[in-house]
Symmetry: C2
Subunit: 323 residues, 2 copies
Amino acid sequence: MSTDTTPDTDTSTGTSTDTDTDASTESKCGASTPDTADAGASTESKCGASSTDEKEVGSTVEDFDAEPGRLVAVGLGPGQPEGMTQRAQTALGEVEHIVGYTTYIDLIPDEITEDADDIYSTPMCGEVSRTEEAIDRALAGNDVGIVGSGDPNVYALAGLALEILESKGGTASMVDFEVVPGVPAAQSCAARLGAPLVNDTVSISLSDHLTPMPEIESRLHAVAGEGFTIAIYNPWSRKRRENFQKCCEILLNHRDPETPVGVVHGAGREDEATEIVELGDLEELGETDLIDMTTTILVGTGDTYVWDDRMVTPRGYESKYDY
Amino acid sequence: MSTDTTPDTDTSTGTSTDTDTDASTESKCGASTPDTADAGASTESKCGASSTDEKEVGSTVEDFDAEPGRLVAVGLGPGQPEGMTQRAQTALGEVEHIVGYTTYIDLIPDEITEDADDIYSTPMCGEVSRTEEAIDRALAGNDVGIVGSGDPNVYALAGLALEILESKGGTASMVDFEVVPGVPAAQSCAARLGAPLVNDTVSISLSDHLTPMPEIESRLHAVAGEGFTIAIYNPWSRKRRENFQKCCEILLNHRDPETPVGVVHGAGREDEATEIVELGDLEELGETDLIDMTTTILVGTGDTYVWDDRMVTPRGYESKYDY
């Protein structure tokens, strides 16, 4: 799932949409000792991305009397309901509370969200506080689903949820923690391009919010020099243009400028756009609408070619068979 | 999808299961000039893995008079019907013929297979001939779905289908070629382990049937020396033990022997088994039932740890927040 918080986006407080008559905007976690650091109770930005203050964990397991409920992290896939697995739909139908970034909550079919007791959604920032909120609600006795696009193990909250649980003195077993996989962006974007990935492949994020850029550059050098197809997540943002430029430079260091590159912007959204370009032309596209935070870029290998508007990375059979 | 043909498996001819009264075992492709190389018509092994003969493509677009039907490559995900996306189910419900490896065909819900006009399934080998069969049927005017586990862009047939179409003188547009993504094995196995992947990740196959081992080794060295979590596909087979041993050796060359490694055997099958071990103990597990062709191995980074029986690779927030 892509839940990356980026420094250059707006921040807002959390919104709790209760499908019952109680329309309070306060945290529903039921903690007996509300703390100003509790997600949703404060109007401060929970984005964290623009703040360097240490934030204390709000509640710990000692603050709850109830038998904990379940916590399930659900990958929604590319976006539209049709992209959800049967298991994801079932899992969300079985929980009482659903927590997530507003855009992803909106992607869930109405029949599922209407069935939940409570929906807690926040806009762009707030990944940490949102996950804390979900965990607090589970510790308070509710069955909770936390959602994101793609898959929970792809730049997403499976790891964050477990880390926060631990810091609260809880365990994964306590909330019967479960991960429901979904289709990652690399594969859903690849499907739009034909067969760009196919063999050994790498996913790299250009977001240096949590990983220093020198490490990212080192990784790019390592894989660009080998026969990996490369899926680039979070390629660009207004404050990180130079990361994208550096990435293009490194790729060209190892691969031909004619190497096919698939660019998928806003997959699953109304402004979705897909293009196949050449590696040598990629950098200048960074200044167009095609490449922004919603874009996934798939870089071919020396064997990749473009045919009938599709990107094709061969399996390798053609050297064995004349088919 | 995993459709890798391995040399050390049994080979058999294709079987066409007609849900109508016509129970012929011949190819249903309708080509007007059957060739002994046509999939299904010959009793020779179509596996190809054990043969070094060049095989001619059977039919080309000139052999067909009909308006071509559609061809859709569908990823079934991890295996059980609940792991299929809504879109995958819909796509298979809309085709007339479904083609695939027998084990994957068996995973499709009965209500979908019973609705199809024809099911063409073959055992382990025959990936190339099976894909040719599917394309011939589409060129003959049928709407055809070709299936595999996982996702069509992960060691699977999206690329193969496009290559074969081209060799037959066809185009992707001619058959309205579509790829329906599914959950890859790396992510569905990761879900069973907790949060092992999370950040930049790599998928590498140890099958050297189509990629020379020296290249695979070079790729392993490149990524093991960087902070990638690594998903290893096709880690072991009776004839390729040394590939697995070499892989373990290379990983230990770069990573601590205490590095957590998740091993998922037979995901989605009755004999499914999941274990978290240490990298230093991985090689000897190659001689146990845990590691075979149905196993996916997920290697952690220097930051990965084991907690409450889950593998956790941190997102990186813990250096910024005290949560």
